[in-house]
Symmetry: C2
Subunit: 120 residues, 2 copies
C-alpha cells in the first residue's frame, strides 16, 4: 500500500513534469513563432555578445514593433536585457536556449506518456 502510494506519487510527479515541459516547450516555440523574432535571436547569436538597438536598423520594422518583439522574447526568457548607459544591451539567455534545445531534442519516439487523459 505504502509502495503503491509512492508509485502513485511518482506517477503524478511525472505527469506534472510532463505538463510543465509541455507548457515550457509551447512557450518557447510560440516566442520563436515569428520570423522577426527568429532573426533577432540569430542576430544576437551572430554577434559574439550582446547588442542594443542596432536591431532596429537591422530589421525593417518600426522601433516600437522591434521593442515589442524583444519584450515577447524577454517574457519567454530567451533573451535578457541590461541597461548600459543610455542604451539597452540584449543577449540571448544561454540556459533558456539550451533548455529549449533540450526539449526539442527530446521529441523522439518512445515512451514517456501514459494513456490518462491530459490537461492542456
Amino acid at each position: 500500500m505504502a509502495v503503491k502510494r509512492r508509485d502513485q506519487d511518482a506517477e503524478q510527479d511525472r505527469a506534472q513534469k510532463r505538463l510543465r515541459a509541455r507548457a515550457e516547450l509551447a512557450g518557447f516555440a510560440k516566442a520563436l513563432g515569428h520570423p522577426a523574432r527568429v532573426e533577432i535571436v540569430r542576430f544576437l547569436l551572430a554577434r559574439d555578445s550582446c547588442m542594443c538597438g542596432d536591431l532596429v536598423d537591422h530589421l525593417p520594422l518600426a522601433q516600437s514593433t522591434v521593442s515589442q518583439h524583444l519584450r515577447i522574447l524577454k517574457d519567454a526568457g530567451l533573451i535578457e536585457g541590461t541597461i548600459d548607459g543610455p542604451r539597452v544591451c540584449y543577449c540571448v539567455a544561454p540556459r533558456a536556449l539550451a533548455r529549449f534545445q533540450g526539449l526539442v531534442a527530446d521529441l523522439r519516439p518512445g515512451p514517456g506518456l501514459t494513456d490518462r487523459e491530459c490537461e492542456v
Copy 2:
C-alpha cells in the same frame, strides 16, 4: 570581376538560404506554439506508430478543435495523415521533425549572418 560576381551570387545564395531557414524555423515553432499541439506530437511519438482520433479522447478539447490543431500541424508539415478505412491515421513526419530539430540545434553563437539589412 567574374570572381566577384560569383562571390556576390554566393553571398546572395547564403542570404536566401538564411531567409528560408528563418521562415522555416518560425513556421515549425509557430505550429508547436500551443500546448495542445505539443501534446499531440508527444502523443503520436509515444505510440510506436500512427494513431487516429484517440487524440480526441486524450485531449480535453472538442473534436473540431482537435481537428483544427491537427490541420495546423499538418500544414506545417510536422505530421501526416493517411485515411485508413473510416478513420484517419496520423503520425509525425520524421524528416520534418528532424529538420526542425536541426534548425533549433543550429541556434548557437557564431557567424552565419551579415550586417546587411534583412527582410522579414
